[in-house]
Each structure stands twice: as structure tokens, then as C-alpha cells.
Subunit: 286 residues, 2 copies
């Protein structure tokens, strides 16, 4: 039996009879193929990527595993529809904090319709896409003080300016996220963003690939960050970076994806700044 | 006595009684302060940059030396006007090949007027700015077969698509540039683009700085490339990279210049591709 994903933070949500992704209890994520060309384009990307021998193995790990397209009962009750069957990235996490960050200083690209261009550029200017080269699309933080999840409203998230985005990235790794008056303590920054298995390390691996890869242009694609808040036998955070949302991927045609690459490097600088200031904070006893 | 620069390839040209830059015979370049805010903004940038202790010394060499603002007789006969006094980058070259490449996937930036935005985005889409993250703004190549300069028309240059830009970058380092039927031989690629003092080496130094610098955002700024074609006692090409045109520079405010950085890396990939294919060509005896 398929059900609505509990930890989805951006995109169409399958609730109140709407069409959206579903999950099973085997760690698979069922994403309905959108009616227009987007669904088909995303399926085409996964087919191409999966069979592309020029993609290094260590880079594949940053993409959800693809299990083909399958007809399943849609979440909106409209009967069977084709769904992409993907790895459910947050499956296996008990109390995951999750953030979706859309990378790039534009979400439109050459040869889109004027209508789509106008829609995108308006949103790109209203959010931090143009100014920072990325925007936070959604987040969900496990709060340790109340032992529950905190999830800001989508409108609040999309209204972030530079300081809002920086604050969200600090809160994401703090133990006092829910306290609006407190400075986020970045208590988990070194475990989640830092370290040999941390977010920064993973982003830098992706960066090295994007520096020269000319296979695909990842328009309007997101970096999804996840980590675990359940403290079990070990204190492993299982910090994980995955690229998601490939409905607007185009062939690279011998040109690097300078739009994604520039935005990714800007995002990396934000993570590095948080790591540095939290290091200094600890050293100075703040 | 000031005169019209012989080797300027882009921007306003001081001829036919128009306002434009002038040079003296002491290696200085006099750029009239544009009437609107742009001239003032460029002077402000040079003042800030010159006194900014956070700019590493080895990076300063990639910018023209600044000698202040001075009243000189304008080229359009309108009397004395304030001019930026800069290093004349091509002074001392006898037969320089010169190319101006505007870096970035957009030339507009947040908070510009709607009129300026519309003007920029139209040109950014019509040129390779959006698709490649840079556009060739002008070039002048010394042709060895006719022993004279070849300079394509500005309208031709701005109409380049991906292949046109690639071709121009190949012709720039070829001995048979004027021959439209021949494949550019890239005879000087290894001396000009490659080597320990070559263009690529210099671009990579700039890249390393742009990866983390958050001091300035270099909107609508160009990379100028110059090298010597006069064969003297040594065969030194004196290949040189300089950043020019700072009328639209803004404070970085703690964010990297992801727009310039992404475009610069795309440009670097083009140079690397030419170097690799010309290496292979030599090895295979083509």
C-alpha cells in the first residue's frame, strides 16, 4: 500500500485529494509523471543518466536510484497513472531534518516560452535565486527542545532574503531552532556540515564534477540535504546530499553548467562560513 | 599629446568626433567618465580596489593600474572633461592580438531599472551570454599571412552562437585566421593559451580568487586577452589577461560573485578544450 510521504518539504504534496508523490514501505518513492512535457523529460533524464557510461560511479551516489516507470493508483483518486519509481531518500531515517535548496541564478533557460520565462524570472528576482545563485525551497527541522518537527510555511521560506537564507542554514544545524529570540547555536554544524562524511565534503565532490562535466544542464534542480536526529547506539548523523528534480534538465552540448556550478559554489561558501564561525564560536567559548 | 588608441576592440571608440578613450605615449589610457552614474561608479571602484588591503597582491596584476581622475581635452571636442587615468594594457606591444570577452550569464543585476533590465536581457539572450556564461565583445587578430590586422565587424561578433565563439577563440591563436575556408590551425595555442605564463594559467589564478572573494560583484566586466605577434630576439608571446570595465561593479556583501565565477569557469573550459585538441592534433601529425 502506498502512502503520502511524511518528510517531503517541497514540490507538489499529495494531500487533500491532490496529485503528488507517494512512498511504499520498501524505500521507494513514486512520483507522478506530470501531464505536460516535464514528466516525460524527467523520465528521459533518468533513463539517459542511468545508462550514461561517462558519469563517474562516485557521482551516481548523489542521485536517487531509478527503478523505471510504473502504473500506480494516483493520490488524487484519478485512477492508475504512470509514476517514476525512485529511491526514497529519507527512508530509514527516524527523525530526519530535511532541506531542499534550488540551485542556480535562474530557473528559466534558453528557448522556453515567454510565459514560462516571465513566471520564472519574477520568482527568481523575488527570492534569492538571482542574488545568491540558490534559494531555499523548503525545510523541516527536528527540534530537540520540543521533540517535534518545525516546518516554516512555504510563503515564509520563499520570502527569505540573504539573511533569511543564512539563518535557515544555521537553524538547520541548531538545537534551539524553534526559539526565534535565540541566536541559532549551530550545535550540530561540525557533525552535519563538517567532517569526512559531512555535507560540505559531499558538496565539494559534486563541485569537482560540475567543474568539467558538459553532459547535462541541471536547470531548476535542487540539492536535498538530510540528516538524522534520533540518537541511537552510535551518534552517526548520516548527513546526506542528493540532487533531485530533473524535469528541466537539458543536454550540455559541450558546455559546462555554469548556472548550476556558480550557484553551487555560492551555496558551498555559505556552508563554509557557518562551519568557520561555529569553529570560532567553540574556540572562544561562545 | 593624446591620441586615439589603435588596439581598442570594444566599448565607445573615439573617432569621427565621438567621445571615447585616449592614450598618451607614456603608457596611460584616459577613459572619459560617462555622464550618468557609471563613470562615477567606475572611479569609485578603482579607488576602493586600490586601497583595499583584502585584495591579494598577485591578483592586483590582473587589473589595470589606476592613476586617479584627471581633466583632459575630450576626444569629441567638447572641452576638458574628467577622465580615469589607467594603465594602457597594450602599450609596449608592437603587433598585439586582442580579444575582449564579457563574463557572466547576465549583464543586469538586482535593483537596476526596468529599462536597463530589458535592454540587457535582450542582448544577453541574443548573444552567448545566457547560453555560455560569456560573450565575445570584440577582437583584433594579427594575421601572419597578410601581415596585417583582421578585425570582424561588431555586429558579426555579437551574432556569434556557441560555434562562433569557439571558432573565434581558435582563430585568435591561429596563423591562418583570415582564411575562412581553412580550419584554424591553432598554431600558437600552446604558447599563448598554454604554458607557465599563458592565458590559462592566469585565468586559473583569477578563478581561485573568485571562488571565495566576496568583496565585489563584477557585473558586465570583461576579460581582455593580449599577446604579441612581433617576433623579436626571443619568441616571448607576452600573453596577458586583464580585467576591464568596472562601471557596474557592486559590493559583494559576503556573497561570492557566482555570476562572474560560473561564466569564467565556462570560458576556462573552452580554452582547455582548445589546448587539448591542439595537443592531440600535434601528436597525431594533423
Amino acid at each position: 500500500m502506498l502512502k503520502v510521504p511524511e518528510h517531503q518539504v517541497a514540490g507538489h504534496i499529495a494531500k487533500d485529494g491532490k496529485l503528488g508523490p507517494l512512498i511504499d514501505d520498501q524505500g521507494r518513492f513514486y512520483k507522478p509523471l506530470q501531464g505536460d512535457a516535464r514528466g516525460e523529460n524527467e523520465a528521459k533524464f533518468y533513463e539517459s543518466f542511468t545508462s550514461n557510461k561517462n558519469v563517474p560511479d562516485h557521482i551516481r551516489g548523489y542521485f536517487p536510484v531509478y527503478h523505471g516507470v510504473q502504473q500506480v493508483e494516483a493520490s488524487d483518486g484519478s485512477g492508475e497513472l504512470p509514476h517514476l519509481v525512485l529511491e526514497d531518500v529519507v527512508s530509514g531515517y527516524v527523525k530526519p531534518s530535511v532541506m531542499d535548496v534550488k540551485i542556480g541564478s535562474r530557473t528559466w533557460y534558453p528557448d522556453v516560452s515567454e510565459e514560462y520565462f516571465n513566471k520564472c524570472i519574477k520568482k527568481d528576482m523575488a527570492t534569492t535565486t538571482v542574488s545568491l545563485g540558490f534559494r531555499v525551497s523548503g525545510l523541516k527541522i527536528f527540534d530537540h527542545q520540543v521533540s517535534g518537527f518545525w516546518r516554516p510555511d512555504k510563503r515564509v521560506v520563499l520570502a527569505y532574503k540573504v539573511d533569511g537564507a543564512r539563518m535557515a542554514l544555521r537553524k538547520f544545524v541548531s538545537s534551539n531552532s524553534l526559539d526565534d529570540d535565540a541566536v541559532p547555536d549551530c550545535a550540530f554544524a561540525s557533525e552535519v556540515y563538517g567532517g569526512s562524511n559531512g555535507i560540505l565534503k559531499q558538496l565539494l565532490e559534486l563541485k569537482a564534477w560540475f567543474e568539467t562535466q558538459t553532459l547535462y544542464h541541471f536547470n531548476s534542480c535542487s540539492v536535498l540535504m538530510v540528516y538524522e536526529n534520533e540518537s541511537g547506539g552510535d551518534d552517526e548523523r548520516r548527513a546526506q546530499v542528493k540532487l533531485v528534480d530533473f524535469a528541466h534538465v537539458l543536454d550540455g552540448n559541450g558546455v559546462i553548467d555554469h548556472n548550476f556550478f556558480g550557484g553551487l559554489c555560492s551555496f558551498i561558501k555559505f556552508i563554509q562560513d557557518i562551519l568557520e564561525s561555529s569553529d570560532n564560536g567553540h574556540e572562544n567559548g561562545h
